[in-house]
């Protein structure tokens, strides 16, 4: 089953948060907003696994609660540990 899309206002917050803490790469100035929801879903899963909450792949209440928790500003996934590309689709070479 495909995950249920999140409301637009929350999805922006979630994507920004995932990017800030290293789960998604920074938006490419060329591709702009072309982050696919598959990438976002995977990033959410990684984030949920790291946080020790159920891996639903959607920004459920537990995920949103974590996103709004006070925290350290450093990323959880350090830049050098991000995958360079994924299936040739998400992080294409310039």
């Amino acid at each position: 089953a495909r995950p249920v899309p999140t409301p637009a206002d929350e999805s922006g917050e979630v994507v920004a948060w995932l990017t800030q803490y290293g789960y998604l790469p920074p938006a490419d100035p060329v591709t702009g907003q072309l982050q696919t929801w598959e990438a976002v879903t995977n990033a959410i899963r990684v984030m949920q696994r790291f946080a020790g909450i159920p891996e639903t792949g959607i920004p459920d209440d537990a995920t949103l609660a974590l996103i709004r928790m006070p925290r350290c500003s450093l990323p959880d996934v350090l830049p050098e540990k991000l995958p360079k590309r994924k299936n040739g689709r998400l992080w294409r070479k310039r």
């Binding site: 803490y21 696994r49 790291f50 946080a51 020790g52 974590l66 709004r68 928790m69 006070p70 925290r71 350290c72 500003s73 450093l74 990323p75 959880d76 350090l78 540990k81």
Partner: protein, 417 residues
């Protein structure tokens, strides 16, 4: 085991003796500066108890680990966002420009021993951030202090110990701490024990005991072996030749100068006698003579030995170039010839300071190149070395110019001293 391997970023300090300093403090804080420094000390100690690291506080401008309280965008790529959200960050040892920088959001309600929902526990966050400063990344373990989410207070700073995972991770970077029988304690012999944290939040026992160098007047100042010592109550601050404070925290005078009574409330004057480099302490009707930091036999003795009044002196300073020591009491001044061991004829006279400075002065100091300073309250004046006439541009702040208080001084300088 695999997850543990991800925890460190693979870079560590090459040195094991690491200096630290709290560079700036929150503007409107519930916690005093002393509390913040004490919590910093204990947060670092958590790591040094697990790994062969020692941390020491320094007063100079540079430190390996520098702690700052900053707000909003502070130009490091990690802007703060007001209360909540991002509360702190620290840079890894491998960061060429920013290694050792630890930033706390000044807009948080930083607390200590306070209920969970009342604010953000500074000690818990500090232990986490110092983990980054030492090379640890975030951990997925719910019990790790390196979990990225703030999870509330972690308990008593004096009792707190790292969880097993954190213990292993820091030891992967620095090895384990092995105490040899010959190993000396980490603290410098000059420093008193770190301030202890009592349970009666928010008061700290240390705050009651230790004078605050940024707001205190001083009792006496002396130049000894080229270093400058500021005395207040039972404590002193020490400045090296380059006028760098050896520690922001004052040391107990009686612990360093062995033989000075611990019950001594304060000293009136201290100077190094240039004829034999003995160090003389004056307090009320008595004086002590020290060879290095041990008292000579037969002391204390009455100050009347010098021909001084029984009640003691306000200030004293010794000048190598004329081998004289000048004593001050109220509006009077005595000139003592160290070579002959006698008071100069005509002493006492009305002090040359009369009309120039508020009297009595707290103390006077003859600097290494002959300059003379007078200290009163929280201010000091520079005097022309021969005539003792005031130089222009004074008074200036003792705290700012000597005691490394760069921030806003309190009470404000306009307040009566």
């Amino acid at each position: 085991r695999k997850s543990r391997g991800r925890r460190s970023v693979g870079l560590a300090w090459t040195k094991r003796n690491i200096s630290w300093k709290v560079k700036t403090y929150p503007r409107e804080a519930q916690l005093s500066r002393e509390t913040i420094r004490a919590l910093t000390h204990y947060a670092l100690k958590v790591w040094s108890e697990a790994a062969p690291l020692t941390f020491h506080e320094v007063g100079g401008p540079s430190a390996d680990i520098s702690v700052e309280f900053l707000r909003l965008d502070h130009q490091d790529g990690y802007p703060f966002d007001g209360p909540g959200g991002m509360v702190a960050h620290a840079f890894f040892p491998g960061d060429p420009q920013r290694a050792g920088h630890v930033h706390f959001d000044s807009d948080e309600d930083w607390t200590f021993r306070s209920p969970d929902d009342y604010g953000t526990d500074l000690f818990a966050v500090a232990v986490h951030e110092f983990g980054h400063s030492l090379g640890l990344a975030h951990s997925p373990s719910k019990h790790s202090i390196m979990r990225p989410y703030y999870q509330g207070p972690v308990g008593d700073p004096l009792q707190y110990q790292l969880q097993a995972d954190d213990h292993v991770d820091i030891q992967r970077l620095y090895g384990s701490r092995v105490l040899h029988s010959t190993e000396k304690p980490e603290a410098s012999s000059l420093l008193p024990d770190p301030p202890s944290l009592p349970h009666d939040f928010p008061a700290l026992r240390s705050e009651k005991e230790f004078p605050d160098r940024c707001s205190s007047s001083i009792d006496a100042v002396a130049q000894i072996r080229g270093e400058t010592f500021f005395f207040k109550g039972q404590y002193f601050w020490r400045l090296t030749h380059g006028r760098h404070l050896t520690s922001l925290r004052p040391a107990l005078s009686a612990a360093f100068w062995r033989g000075l009574p611990r019950s001594l409330g304060k000293v009136d004057a201290v100077y190094e006698r240039h004829t034999d480099h003995r160090i003389l302490f004056f307090s009320g009707p008595l004086y002590w003579v020290f060879k290095d930091n041990g008292v000579e036999e037969g002391f204390p003795r009455p100050v009347t030995d010098f021909g001084l009044p029984q009640g003691g002196v306000d200030a004293a300073f010794s000048r190598p170039h004329d081998r004289k020591t000048y004593f001050f009491k109220g509006g009077l001044q005595w000139s003592y010839d160290e070579a002959t061991g006698r008071m100069d004829e005509g002493s006492p006279t009305h002090t040359a300071l009369r009309g120039q400075l508020p009297t009595p002065v707290d103390d006077m100091l003859s600097g290494s190149d002959g300059e003379v300073y007078a200290f009163k309250g929280r201010q000091y004046w520079k005097l022309e070395r021969h005539s003792l006439k005031l130089e222009t541009g004074y008074p200036r702040s003792i705290a700012r110019d000597w005691l490394d208080c760069s921030g806003e001084l309190y009470p404000p300088p306009s307040a009566p001293t």
